[in-house]
């Protein structure tokens, strides 16, 4: 248990030695997967761009499988492991429970990720990351994902253990910080998720080596989405925590109400398990009652939770800014925000894009009958590039601008480019999401190599607007790849060549979080209360867009063939 604690002179954050190393390795591994994922993104986009159509069909499906796996599973998961260690060991200023197990988890994830990638690039496993049965991949495709899941489960267990250590060693008093609470939410959901994943991937692995004869196609989809959907809720919990973290670090913002924010996180845990339903809305094997109950009763509370965070995060920033004296008009607090600081600009673009694009499109897509207008069209990847990319990925990117100096003790190189990067990536990716949704609204399919249907016995000519949307997809996709590549370049460049920063004092004892000086009371709150009219206006704007877009889609639906 001999370990050391370093207090960062820039931020005052305290890093335990093992936790710090684990965060670094996980973050770096994540960035490397993002690099592979980014290269595949470029190849995918250049193939779906009708004017270019770079790859032949077999390579396109191979590369698209790699893109899904390396981005959605590997990049996101590795970075999330770093977030978990940060939210536990660093924020609670305690040692990491069982670092050996954390390292085991890390290496399992590395080996698993490489194994699955080998399977994909050998060419026998172009089944997409969803690997719907009965299409079959090579056994090591599934095996690799199982290893990744086990590794992630170990990391999650270490996170829980660390919370216990902090409690036992009394490194903090009172309740967990909100950010840690958010991470706890993510970790609890992750545990469910990974168990659902094991429930489907282990049988599928056994089926691929011939030990199980058959897996029902509908059952597979249901259990698989128990993994696939809930893991998106992990991502949301993680990036919302990062939003709160950013607001706290940049503005010293405190949550408008601890109770509301924590309650909203709790809703994520309580109401998402069956949200896998909204991936099955146009499937044959489920009844309407099941679909309506599971999408609305369970999903709309999760939606409500996101709407709450979408209000309280900017609200907390507005309140902090107003306390500092930016009180003119509705939006001085926002105008005078540090737009040149990529930690803030990235976080704010993430918030807006996730709310306005990802959130609204997701709910509309997840409406039982409306889903028929979009199921498996290009709308779907359009939607989730505005959740898991402009939401989660951009939040991770922006927090990295903070982590490089604090965690890696390097100054960011090329600060001017750092300033531009969140705008370049965030805006192009948002537009990309929009035009992809546009193409999907016109019917264009996802995971589809050829809009001209060469080799088919018939012809079908897509509307000209669909080609226009796909052309724009190409253009903004390439810009987004440049924006993402720039981030990798800046981060890796800074890690290698950035000016070394002073690491700060090292001690072999943790310094606990100073006890609360404020008297425990229920009334201390009232006195420093400030209103947040700007946030109210933004929230109402969101709401109006939401309602309009929602009903426009019912209108579209009412115009198609009659179905019953």
């Amino acid at each position: 248990m001999a370990t050391t604690y370093r207090t960062c002179p820039v931020s005052g954050l305290q890093f335990e030695d093992q936790a710090e190393k684990l965060m670094r390795w996980n973050a770096v591994a994540g960035v490397l997967w993002l690099l592979v994922g980014g290269i595949t993104a470029l190849l995918v986009i250049l193939t779906r761009w009708p004017a270019i159509k770079l790859l032949p069909a077999d390579q396109f499906y191979l590369i698209l499988t790699a893109h899904g796996v390396d981005m959605l599973i590997l990049w996101i998961l590795f970075f999330e492991m770093a977030v978990l260690y940060f939210a536990s060991s660093t924020l609670l200023r305690c040692r990491l429970a069982t670092p050996k197990i954390a390292w085991l988890g890390f290496w399992l994830m590395v080996v698993g990720g490489i194994t699955t990638n080998i399977a994909i690039f050998q060419g026998e496993s172009s089944v997409m990351f969803t690997s719907y049965v009965p299409m079959q991949a090579a056994p090591h495709f599934y095996l690799g994902i199982i290893l990744v899941a086990v590794g992630a489960l170990l990391g999650t267990a270490v996170f829980f253990g660390t919370l216990v250590v902090a409690k036992k060693d009394k490194t903090y008093q009172g309740s967990l910080p909100l950010v840690t609470f958010g991470a706890l939410t993510a970790a609890i959901i992750a545990t469910f998720t990974i168990l659902a994943g094991a429930g489907i991937l282990i049988p599928t692995f056994l089926w691929s080596i011939g030990l199980i004869k058959e897996i029902d196609a509908q059952l597979y989809r249901m259990v698989w989405w128990g993994l696939g959907h809930s893991s998106q809720q992990i991502n949301v919990a993680a990036h919302v925590s990062i939003w709160y973290l950013t607001a706290a670090v940049i503005f010293g913002a405190k949550p408008l109400s601890e109770k509301v924010s924590r309650g909203a996180f709790l809703l994520y845990i309580l109401f998402l398990q069956l949200a896998s339903a909204h991936h099955l809305l146009s499937d044959p094997g489920m009844s309407s009652e099941w679909k309506v109950l599971n999408t609305s009763y369970f999903m709309y509370f999760a939606v409500m939770a996101s709407m709450i965070h979408g209000f309280t995060v900017p609200g907390a920033i507005e309140a902090a800014q107003r306390r500092k004296g930016y009180t003119n008009g509705l939006f001085e607090w926002l105008r005078k925000a540090p737009w040149g600081n990529p930690v803030f600009s990235g976080m704010f673009i993430s918030l807006v894009s996730f709310g306005f694009l990802g959130g609204i499109s997701g709910v509309v897509l997840g409406t039982e009958q409306i889903n028929m207008l979009m199921h498996n069209t290009f709308y779907v990847p359009g939607h989730f590039h505005t959740t898991v990319v402009t939401g989660t990925t951009l939040a991770f990117m922006s927090i990295t601008y903070l982590l490089v100096p604090v965690l890696f003790r390097r100054e960011m190189i090329l600060p001017k480019l750092c300033q531009i990067q969140p705008y370049l990536f965030g805006i192009s990716m948002s537009v990309l999401g929009l035009v992809m949704m546009g193409a999907g609204t016109l019917g264009v399919s996802r995971r589809h190599w050829d809009m001209a249907f060469s080799g088919a016995p018939f012809q079908y000519e897509w509307p000209g607007a669909a080609y226009l949307m796909m052309g724009l997809t190409g253009i903004f996709g390439v810009i987004a790849v440049i924006g993402g590549g720039l981030w990798i370049l800046l981060v890796v460049g800074s890690l290698l060549f950035g000016k070394k920063l002073d690491g700060g004092k090292v001690s072999n004892q943790p310094t606990p979080i100073p006890a609360n000086t404020q008297a425990a009371s229920a009334v201390a709150h009232g006195s420093d209360h400030v209103g947040v009219p700007g946030t109210v206006v933004l929230a109402l704007l969101l709401f109006v867009c939401f309602v309009l877009y929602y009903f426009v889609n019912w209108k579209y639906l009412s115009e198609v063939w009659l179905l019953s």
Partner: protein
């Protein structure tokens, strides 16, 4: 003090919630209920609801039923592959097979008539994507999905496969005529 420290007020759960926040929570809640009600409303009054009629089946069983239907109702063949064009009896049952990599056969329907179209797959999952109407339904092996459809406009329609089904996926194009 902030979101990265323990709440400064140790009794944070006793803090009153601000009116504005309550209002927003209420809006979000009511809106969720409206969206919930909307789906049920559409089941009662809407004209576009996905059928719940589905049966477990096997490729052999479904294939045999479909072949019988084709044998009895074919009116001509088209293309150099001689794909049968099958006129579905008005108000009757039609069968559409999804397989690697074709939709089989070609169906002929009449505007304003209601048909029970049986969908199933012989192998992998496929996606029934009717264009340019843009109706999208998952088609799975082992499940026979009976979808009631009423075409509202004449024309030649394409069935694109929009569930990835292997290398020939992008050439899997079918056809429906509406007279």
């Amino acid at each position: 003090m902030s979101a990265i420290l323990p709440p400064s007020d140790r009794l944070w759960w006793k803090q009153p919630i601000d009116k504005v926040e309550w209002a927003w929570i209420a809006i979000a809640f009511v809106w969720g209920m409206i969206m919930f009600a909307m789906m049920i409303y559409w089941h009662v009054y809407g004209k576009q609801n996905l059928s719940n009629e589905a049966y477990k089946t096997t490729p052999e069983l479904f294939g045999a039923k479909a072949e019988k239907f084709i044998a009895e109702n074919t009116i001509r063949t088209e293309t150099d592959q001689n794909i049968p064009v099958v006129k579905v009896p008005a108000g009757g049952d039609g069968y559409l097979i999804a397989r690697l990599w074709a939709w089989y056969p070609i169906l002929e329907l009449e505007k304003g008539q209601t048909y029970k179209i049986h969908l199933s797959s012989m192998d992998y999952a496929h996606g029934f994507s009717l264009q340019p109407v843009n109706i999208n339904i998952e088609v799975l092996p082992g499940y026979e999905h009976v979808v009631k459809m009423t075409p509202t406009k004449e024309g030649t329609y394409a069935i694109v496969c929009n569930e990835y089904c292997g290398i020939g996926h992008s050439s899997m194009l079918g056809r429906i005529y509406v007279k």
